[in-house]
Structure formats: structure tokens, C-alpha cells
């Protein structure tokens, strides 16, 4: 999220004199970051859309960009190729064996898709898409997950209209309570009657050959 518009530009050569009350003395190291520098690196987008740039993109344009830049790994319909990540499908699988986690089935926030595609994809040529292209590609990923219609246009304005199905599917780490019983006085003797081997790694035989 860029805050650069709030920053009064400070000359590189001005020494800083103000110190926040509770914080230790400053050494005066480093130099003020310039607004353009902050803008260049501060690209992350928050769940409420803060940080999204101007621009827009529609599903069909997005489909073309996806075909050219993404499909080789993620498949024409975002269904994934070989071991490369699947970006679509898997709805309703989270409580089954081997759930399929995709943008559609698992991701809680659309901001994450925008942010990740914008900063990290395509793999090997990150940060090569324009904001309009990212809007379009993300619209297409939504479409591939049956979450928007073919005529959908994604922009900062329509962004908040989209709710991902698994938005409420997360709880904050509850190990302290849910696993409180792991704090215990462990058994040392006669801890169980019998022990049987129930599964062997060699039977599965998926360990790489280490040459010894």
C-alpha cells in the first residue's frame, strides 16, 4: 500500500531532528526515501483494495493475455498443466481428501490474486504486465472459476463487488486452546499394550536414490 502521497518530500541533505518519545535515540543512518522510490517498491494491495492502481480489464481481453503469458504453465482454462499450479476449480473440496486449493476454491481475498499476479507472475518475467493487463488476467481467473460473467470488467470500482467463496473459511491460529492437551506430563512406562507397524515407506518407494 503506497503512502507516498502523504509524505512531505524531504531533501536528501536535511538532517532529521525529531525523535518519537518512546523510541531509542537515532543514529542518523540511512537517508529519506523519495516519493518515487516508495511508489516504485510499495506495490502491495490490501483486502479492501488499498494500493490498487488506476486501470481496468475485462474477461475476454484477460483471456488473450492469459493465453499468451500464463497458459503454458497454468493451462488455457487456468486448470493447470502437469505439476504447475491450478488456478481454477476445486470448489467444495476443502473438507474432502486431497482438497484442490485454487484462487476460486480457497483464496479468501481477491486482493491477493491481484497483488501476486502483479508482482510475481508470469514466472520468469515478473512485473512485466501493465495494470490494465493485470486487471484483465485477474478478471479471467475469476471467470475460469465461474465467479463472474463473460462481460465482467475488473477495476478499482468493481473490485469490492467480488467476494470469494472461501472468504470466511479461515480462523486465526487456535493451537493454544485446540491443542492445549499437548501440554502434559508424558507417560514413561506401559504407555500402550501393543505396537504394530501400520505403514512402511519402502512399500511406497518414493524416496530418491541417494546412491548409497
Amino acid at each position: 500500500m503506497s503512502k507516498y502521497h502523504n509524505i512531505v518530500p524531504i531533501s536528501l541533505f536535511v538532517t532529521l531532528t525529531f525523535v518519537s518519545p518512546l523510541q531509542a535515540g537515532k543514529l542518523g543512518l540511512g537517508r529519506p526515501a523519495l516519493p518515487d522510490e516508495v511508489a516504485a517498491w510499495d506495490l502491495d494491495v490490501r483486502p479492501d483494495g488499498t494500493g490498487l492502481p488506476d486501470g481496468s480489464g475485462d474477461v475476454l481481453t484477460g483471456e488473450e493475455i492469459f493465453a499468451d503469458n500464463c497458459a503454458v504453465c497454468h493451462g488455457d482454462f487456468a486448470e493447470g498443466v502437469d505439476n504447475w499450479p491450478k488456478l481454477a476449480g476445486g470448489m467444495g473440496t476443502l473438507d474432502r481428501d486431497d482438497p484442490l486449493k485454487t484462487v476460486g476454491s480457497y483464496w479468501p481475498y481477491l486482493s491477493t490474486t491481484w497483488d501476486y499476479v502483479n508482482r510475481s507472475m508470469p514466472f520468469g518475467n515478473a512485473q512485466s504486465l501493465t495494470p490494465d493487463e493485470v486487471y484483465g488476467v485477474v478478471a479471467y481467473i475469476l471467470y475460469s472459476n465461474d465467479l463472474v460473467d463473460e462481460d465482467f470488467v475488473l477495476s478499482r470500482d468493481t473490485f469490492t463487488e467480488v467476494h470469494l467463496p472461501n472468504a470466511d473459511g479461515f480462523i486465526v491460529d487456535d493451537r493454544k486452546s485446540a491443542e492445549a492437551h499437548f501440554v502434559t506430563d508424558p507417560c514413561m512406562q506401559n504407555c500402550k499394550d501393543k505396537v504394530e507397524i501400520t505403514m512402511r515407506a519402502r512399500v511406497l518407494d518414493v524416496t530418491p536414490d541417494t546412491g548409497d
Binding site: E37, D44, Q189, R200, L204, T210
Partner: protein
């Protein structure tokens, strides 16, 4: 055995004595062989000739006989090696410090070459003055040394559904333990003047993956380090040279490599690595997020499938590693019978907070099969659970944070296998 002089050629006199000695040895070997171990009774070439001179390897590597003690990956886990992981050969190491050269690697866009000259670190967001530091600036802040383990949250992840990989390296090798030198993150945040509305810091790397994680301000101000040295020397490229974040006790993905930006914010970013990944889906389909701490865990590193018993019955050293993201290891118990009875092992030294502990059980092996297990206890009283206990709470679909008790089935021939027991 060829006799090779290395370094400066020997003088004629040295050469003659050397040749004469070899001749004598050869005669002794064919005629009156002295009783005993020839390695002792016969002069050996390394005790006669000269070894390598200094500077033969300006930066030394392990001797060739240790060439199998290397990181290894598991091909089928990932689509390619650029976004992938490999494993520390913990089965072959002892003590607690992991040499950088065999410490596991995990990249999301490959390991990048970033020079100190090109390195910049930005602090922005809710601060009085957004700042940019060079590498040189970082070295001018007061710095600290700490030993911490770094464990990938996915360590042992392949074992959720059952015993899969046959070796401690593969089941437990996404971990390393190093002594870091760096500047407390707190110092840098104070330098920029973080504001009290800032409840989180978002940390981000300079590589193409732009790996970014949100860390609560309390942790950021507590013990997080901006590190530039590990085990006394510069970080390796694969571990984030020149600067990485060290987040003691918390999952490895948060230890952002090639750290380039720290943003003080009032809310978490909910980046890909803290939503799509590094979240834990329970049996009911609901997923835990922000499961940052690594639970107490241990593993017997030897004997183990890659480190079988080769000496037959008699004195046996059982050894392994234990650690906890919530503090120091207090105790480690070892079972030889799959968890029916337990004995308390010896800690090589008192546990240190968020660092690996080495344990030993010095025992007598009767040559019969064993179902070897270890069980760690940390200073909070948390006891490492069995796989069954974990599954009861978390189901079978978790990937991360598998800290269950591991079982090695050691057979009478000394070979060991990864198994699951009732």
C-alpha cells in the same frame, strides 16, 4: 596406491628417502608380514610423503570421502527446481550448527545474485521518516549474535498421510541452525520512527517472487534480526545474500531472503504466502491462518534409514535433534519399542531458545529390532504429539506444521526404515 607429491617438488634427497621407504614397505608386505593391522604395521603413503600445501583450496570444501553429505531434493515434489526445496543431510551431521554449504534451500523464483553495492533496504508506511539503507549503513548499527533454527513450515509435510520418504534428510531436513549476526529489526524501526498506529510490519524480498509476509509489531520489536552473517561468514546466495530476515521460532517462509522492504502498517497484507500457502486446512475444511510458531519437535538422526547401524550388537549411540519455536528444549525422551516405554536422553547442553538441541542416548543394543522414537518437551511444558494425536485435531489434509513423533524401524541387520505404528 599411487604416490603423488603435491605442492613444491621434493628435493633429490627427500625423493630418495621416500622411494627407499616404499621399497622397504613393499618387501615387508610380500615376505615377513608383521602381525596386526597393516594400516598400523606398515608405513602408509600419507605418513611418508607430503600432503597438499596451503592455498590448494583457498576456500575449503569437505574432503571427497564426505561427498555424499549434501543437500538433496525430491524431484516429484515440485514442477521444477526454481520454485522448489531441498533438504539438509541431518542424518550425517552432529552437534547443532548447520554448515551453510549443506543447509536446505527453498526458493520461490530461484536464488538471485545481488551485490552489496546494489543492495537497498527501504522502511516505509507508518513511520515518521521513510528511509533507505545501503548495506554499509546496516553495518554501522549496533549488532548482535544469536543462534536460531530455521524450519520450513512444510518440513515433514509429506508424512501427514502416512510414512512416505525413507530418510531423516527427507522427512525432517527442511531445517538448519546457524549463528546469525545482524541488527535487531527494532533498531531500524526506531531509526525510521515507527508510529503507534503501526500494528504490523510487512517484509518483502528483492527476488522475482517478491515473497512478502506480515509480522505483528510485537514480534518485530521483540527478537527479529536483519541478518547479514551466518556462522561467521557472509550469507550464502541461496540463503539471501547479502541480507535476510531472521524470525526466531517462526516458520521459515517468514525469514524473507534478499530483504528489500519493511512496511509499517495498521493491518496485515494477506499476501499469497499467508493465504494460499502456509495456512492449515482442518478436517472440516476450515483453515487456520497465522500459524507462525513452529511446534516442539524432534527426530532421531542416527540410526535412521540413511544412517544404519553397521557395527552389530553392543554399545550404540542413538542421537538426534530437538527444537521448539516457543522457547528452549527442556527434555527429550527416546523409545525403542514404538512408544511403550521411554527413557530420558542426555542433552549435549542445556536447551537454548529457538535453537536446535542435540540429544544422545548412550545405550547397549542387543541386536534385536527396535521401533525408535524421540519425543521433545519444551519449556512451556508442550510435549511433541504422536501422529494419531495430531490427526485427531487437524485431520489428514494439513501440509504444514507436522511435528509428530517419528518412528524408525531398526532391523536386526542394522538397516532402518521409516514406518508408522499403531
Amino acid at each position: 596406491m599411487t604416490f603423488r607429491f603435491k605442492g613444491n617438488p621434493p628435493s633429490r634427497r627427500q625423493f630418495l628417502t621416500g622411494a627407499a621407504a616404499i621399497g622397504a614397505g613393499a618387501v615387508a608386505a610380500t615376505t615377513a608380514r608383521a602381525a596386526g593391522d597393516p594400516l598400523i604395521t606398515e608405513p602408509q603413503y600419507w605418513a611418508q610423503g607430503l600432503g597438499e600445501g596451503v592455498d590448494a583450496t583457498p576456500y575449503g570444501l569437505p574432503i571427497e570421502y564426505e561427498s555424499d553429505v549434501v543437500r538433496r531434493n525430491v524431484d516429484w515434489l515440485t514442477a521444477d527446481t526454481i520454485s522448489s526445496i531441498n533438504f539438509t543431510p541431518i542424518h550425517a551431521l552432529d552437534g547443532t550448527i548447520t554448515p551453510q554449504g549443506c543447509a536446505f534451500e527453498r526458493h520461490h523464483s530461484g536464488a538471485i545474485e545481488l551485490t552489496k553495492e546494489d543492495y537497498r533496504l527501504m522502511i516505509n508506511g507508518l513511520v515518521d521518516t521513510p528511509l533507505v539503507f545501503t548495506y554499509g549503513d546496516l553495518e554501522r548499527f549496533p549488532r548482535e549474535n544469536h543462534v536460531y533454527f530455521c524450519e520450513c513450515a512444510a518440513n515433514t509435510g509429506m508424512e501427514w498421510a502416512g510414512a512416505q520418504l525413507n530418510g531423516a534428510q527427507f522427512t525432517h531436513g527442511m531445517i538448519h541452525n546457524m549463528e546469525y549476526t545482524g541488527v535487531p529489526l527494532r533498531t531500524l524501526l526506531e531509526e525510521a520512527g515507527y508510529q503507534t498506529t503501526g500494528k504490523w510490519v510487512y517484509v518483502e524480498g528483492a527476488d522475482a517472487s517478491g515473497n512478502g509476509r506480515s509480522i505483528p509489531m510485537d514480534k518485530a520489536l521483540d527478537d527479529v534480526l536483519v541478518a547479514f552473517k551466518a556462522n561467521g561468514e557472509a550469507l550464502r546466495m541461496e540463503h539471501g545474500y547479502p541480507v535476510r530476515l531472521v524470525v526466531p521460532g517462526w516458520e521459515g517462509n517468514m525469514w524473507v531472503k534478499w530483504l528489500r522492504r519493511i512496511e509499517v502498517a495498521d493491518a496485515p497484507v494477506e499476501s499469497r504466502e499467508e493465504t494460499s500457502k502456509y495456512t492449515d486446512t482442518l478436517a472440516n475444511g476450515i483453515s487456520r491462518k497465522w500459524t507462525w510458531e513452529m511446534d516442539a519437535k524432534s527426530v532421531v538422526t542416527s540410526p535412521s534409514p540413511q544412517s544404519p547401524i553397521t557395527h552389530g550388537p553392543g554399545p550404540l549411540v542413538i542421537t538426534g535433534l530437538a527444537w521448539s519455536g516457543r522457547g528452549a528444549i527442556k527434555r527429550v525422551d527416546v523409545s525403542k519399542d514404538g512408544g511403550k516405554t521411554w527413557e530420558t536422553a542426555r542433552l549435549a547442553k542445556p536447551g537454548e531458545r529457538m535453537a536446535l538441541s542435540r540429544f544422545y542416548l548412550d545405550t547397549e543394543w542387543d541386536g534385536t529390532e527396535m521401533l525408535l522414537q524421540s519425543r521433545a518437551m519444551d519449556e512451556t511444558g508442550y510435549v511433541q504429539p504422536t501422529k494419531a494425536q495430531l490427526r485427531e485435531v487437524r485431520g489428514l489434509n494439513s501440509i504444514y506444521h507436522n511435528n509428530c513423533i517419528q518412528t524408525w524401524w531398526v532391523k536386526p541387520d542394522g538397516e532402518a526404515e521409516n514406518v508408522e505404528v499403531s
